[in-house]
Symmetry: C2
Subunit: 246 residues, 2 copies
DNA sequence: GTCTATACGATGATAGAC
DNA sequence: GTCTATCATCGTATAGAC
């Protein structure tokens, strides 16, 4: 879950290269990072952020290393000092966003009120779709193409997490706190409806003329998703979402 | 809607080339097509189908013309006899699938029973996600990247159609036949939940270990989507989907 | 209509000076 | 660590023979 070491298995054609690989485990930035190391990691972060913007818009093959270098304000040669290949940058971006991705679901509290907890999860997912649509889109691109780079992570970390939370939801059903629904399909529905506003924003903008940046539209969208999701959970009563704006 | 002529505006860098452009309006294949023309169009169709598979998996830039040629069983040079550029192939594929895309929504009947009509629409969309996930994925890829190639079509044909059907749904609401929901958001929710099973099948397979090819899983998924969507429409009673399998 | 050969640009990646 | 120069490869597209 904590994105471990990038040396594990970047999937396809692997090219060994020594260089700066020693400090490659960016997330394990312990307490004793020197000024140099911090500077190094900061630069990598800038590059990863620039790459996220570009990759989320044009995909792995639609972006050149030169574009990334330019956007990150480093020379192309220098880019290869920080990363040994374009794929390594791509995977780096994906790994980083995946952990952000799992956090909200991980936070689903078994002890909380089910409707409240799931409602909060939906609201949080909507906030994320608004705040960071680039990540949502890049993730979408990767999955649609068959998850060639992070398939392993999905089958391990993600599956474990989802199965665990599905058990929580199933328990809620069995206890009669929510209607009887298939937990996995419920989670898929939540992901689908919330991420749709980030991933398909071009289509939504073409039709509705608005995006989540429009505060009113954001509230309408959230309210509607809540109605749809929570509606499926009501055992007969209380189908109403908790937020009542617009 | 009928995909008009490709000469209109393929977006970026446009290169003029005469050649076989005369017969380029493939959909307008009238009754008096000669044997040669039919053969010509058939070949183009084979190429487009091969291209769909590849593009949906790797995106526009992730596929080479050589791969397309090989998959369509023509020489690379010959490929350029049928199409004047890779982008033309890409747009050709997109235009073709877009019309299939609009058809089901277009068929939503204002005179029908609302719950039945929307339920049928959902079921049809699920069937399409199962039958032709490649198209769904390619469409998704294009939209996620900002719809650079078909943005115009979305703002015209698609918007017109959706607005028209949204009015139908709004009328149903006003007449008290379904709950009061925002028609556009309802449509987005339907698209999101149904297409999710095609677009994110890699993720779903990683978690659930199953896809829509599994008949039981397909029924579960459909039932669940119906529960979610129709549940949002119920005015108080009849939240139950019509299909009761598994 | 189909093939062989090839021009030509773009791009991922490296070498080596400073 | 950063730069200039450069290589090798790939991929689009064209020319011209058959």
């Amino acid at each position: 879950m904590t994105s471990e070491n990038a040396n594990s298995k970047p999937s396809p054609a692997r090219r060994l290269k020594p260089r700066a690989e020693i400090i490659d485990n960016e997330s394990a930035a312990g307490p004793e990072t020197s000024r140099q190391q911090r500077r190094f990691l900061a630069r990598k972060a800038v590059i990863l952020d620039a790459a996220l913007s570009l990759f989320s818009q044009s995909g792995l093959h639609g972006v050149s290393t030169e574009q990334i270098a330019e956007a990150a304000d480093v020379s192309k040669t220098n880019l290869f000092y920080y990363f040994s290949s374009k794929e390594e940058i791509y995977v780096g971006v994906l790994k980083r966003l995946l952990s952000d991705w799992l956090a909200p679901l991980d936070a689903l509290d078994p002890e909380a009120d089910p409707i409240q907890a799931i409602g909060d999860y939906v609201r949080l997912k909507m906030e994320m779709s608004r705040a960071d649509p680039r990540s949502s889109r890049l993730f979408c691109l990767e999955i649609v193409q068959g998850a060639p780079m992070i398939g392993d992570e999905l089958r391990t970390s993600l599956k474990t997490l989802v199965d665990r939370k599905a058990a929580v939801i199933r328990r809620w059903s069995e206890d009669g706190k929510i209607a009887s629904v298939d937990p996995h399909h419920l989670i898929y529905a939540i992901w689908a409806t919330t991420q749709h506003y980030a991933d398909f924003s071009a289509q939504i903008a073409a039709i509705s003329g608005r995006t989540l940046d429009d505060e009113l539209f954001f509230r309408e969208a959230t309210e509607n998703v809540l109605r749809v999701i929570l509606g499926a959970l009501s055992t007969g009563v209380e189908a109403k979402p908790s937020k009542g704006a617009a």
